[in-house]
Amino acid sequence: MNKVKEKSKTINLNLLNHDKCKSWDYLQDICMTCSICSSSCPVSGVDDFDPRKMVRMVSLGFEDELIQSRWPWICTMCGKCESVCPMGIDIPGIARKVRSLRDRDKVPGILHKGLSMALKTGNNLGLPDEDFIFIIEDVAEEIAEEPGFENFKAPIDKKGANLLTTIHNKLVNTHTEDLKHWWKIFYVAKEDWTVPSKNWEGTSWGLFTGDDNAMKKMAGRVADHMKQLEVKNLLWPE
């Protein structure tokens, strides 16, 4: 109890400002504080975070405190809270909105670095094109050595293919084995597929940092591939 009391002192009620966050369209004001969100949240209790508290803070206008706080970044945006909320409040949307209001250079390290790298180089790792192509071909060769997959090839930048697939950066980094499952299915299903040689990144961390412009840019790259390669279907597994 003492711990809780001490913590409540850190909120300065003079900062309570109902006009702040008023324009936010997340229905935060109809929250009944039933706490089913916090009871369902997989990260409730981590660093004292819980979604009900975050919704209440928005409702009471504690915008600056939330922006500075770590809490919105603890949320995994899994959406369970929203699915159980009896009032249908878009709680992950609130978390994302708060994140979007932080200075970009104060976005937590890995997200900020990964996204900046993706915007600059086309993928979160900053992996050069030739290294990417080498890895893709190497994995394809390994598959070709397996019985039943003779002559397997990974088609890069194939114009007019039926299906374009993006790549999660970890699949060309630490999890190359995981590329094989999809590709073997394509082979057996006789799918006419391709993978782009540049801007192949499938993740879009602007989703997590609240950066809509970054998301537009990442999605635009995928759209450009489809236009240039004249591919009608997209497999974007992220």
Partner: protein, 347 residues
């Protein structure tokens, strides 16, 4: 010998509201016909248990017995059991057509009709509490029935007394995802009084309440509220999930707002305090009668005056909005007097 007035009132539904209206009208000399869907009268109220501990707690559950008695014995009241309404015609009088379970068709004529068709208890299967899968997750109405019929509390899984009981409040009420924005009014009084009763019958029973806020439960609420927090563990959070573990124990996940921790705790019995929802047949009935429902599916009675949009047709009780026994009784009485007013002035 009762005074007889040559005017007839048909009451749809023989629950506490319908029976109350019937007894008022019958005493005043009107002839009343009750059309009841099921094979017995008394509605939901007849399945509710007396919740007296050392003294009466004014839960109202006993009131229905008296009304049933009157309905069965009063010369002016005629009950048609097991009958469903098939149609209605507005002529010089209102003609109501119905058929019984053997498909035999009948009709009655009346000067006025009262809709007292009651409510449907919320079915909590869609909530993440395993109601349809775990034996020891029950509704508050099932607990009422158990205590009423057996005068004890047992776990359905093995019929032994539960040591640790959780009540989850507001299940199916105040829920915009279900389009149920109302407080059902009955769940707090019913569950809290049952919890007191359990502690009286089974001293030492460990009872927790997961709640949002406790609603008013009668005149001595203030005193009642202090005992709530003294006698029960009250947790201001609705649980997220319930899972079944070994021996039919129930693991309840919730966020404890006191120490800011997510917790999983084992209970023997979980009681879901289910709310009042509009009867599923309301839409069909409203179309047959040519009257309006509210946006939530209850009968629309012009700001609760008892009058519907059609002259001579009235609605009362939980057919109109959620209410407890006391309020249903007064709704039945008030509506009976509205009907009398209407028959004296209008016809």
């Amino acid at each position: 010998m009762e005074r007889m007035i040559d005017q007839n009132v048909i009451i749809l539904g023989g629950g506490i509201t319908g029976l109350t209206a019937a007894s008022e009208l019958a005493h005043l000399g009107y002839h009343v016909e009750i059309i009841e869907k099921s094979e017995s009268i008394g509605g939901h109220a007849v399945r509710l248990t007396c919740k007296a501990t050392e003294k009466c707690v004014k839960c109202g559950a006993c009131k229905v017995d008296e009304k049933i008695q009157i309905a069965h014995s009063h010369i002016n009241i005629n009950i048609h059991m097991g009958c469903t309404l098939t149609g209605i015609k507005n002529g010089e009088r209102i003609s109501v057509y119905y058929r019984n379970q053997q498909d035999r068709k009948s009709s009655s004529n009346a000067e006025a009709v009262i809709i007292a068709t009651g409510f449907h208890p919320f079915n909590p299967e869609t909530k993440p509490y395993g109601y349809d899968r775990f034996k020891n997750v029950i509704t508050s109405l099932e607990l009422e029935k158990r205590i009423k019929e057996h005068n004890d509390i047992k776990k359905p899984s093995d019929l032994t007394p539960p040591e640790k009981i959780a009540f989850v409040q507001c299940v199916g009420s105040r829920d915009s995802s279900l389009n149920h924005l109302w407080c059902s009014k009955i769940c707090c009084p019913s569950s809290l009084r049952m919890a007191h009763l359990i502690q009286t019958k089974q001293p030492g029973a460990d009872i927790s309440f997961f709640y949002i806020d406790f609603q008013n439960c009668g005149k001595d609420y203030q005193q009642f509220q202090t005992t709530i927090h003294k006698n029960f563990r009250t947790i201001r959070a609705i649980p997220g999930d319930i899972l079944q573990t070994k021996n039919n124990h129930l693991e309840v996940s919730f966020f404890d707002p006191v120490d800011h921790k997510a917790k999983e705790e084992i209970f023997d019995l979980v009681v879901l305090s289910v709310g009042i929802t509009p009867n599923q047949g309301n839409r069909d009935l409203s179309e047959k009668l040519g009257i309006n429902l509210t946006e939530f599916g209850f009968f629309d009675t012009h700001n609760q005056t008892g009058m519907t949009s059609k002259a001579g047709i009235f609605a009362a009780g939980t057919a109109c909005h959620p209410m407890g026994i006391e309020e249903s009784l007064s709704s039945g009485i008030k509506t009976a007097f509205r009907v009398v007013e209407y028959l004296k002035n209008g016809k």
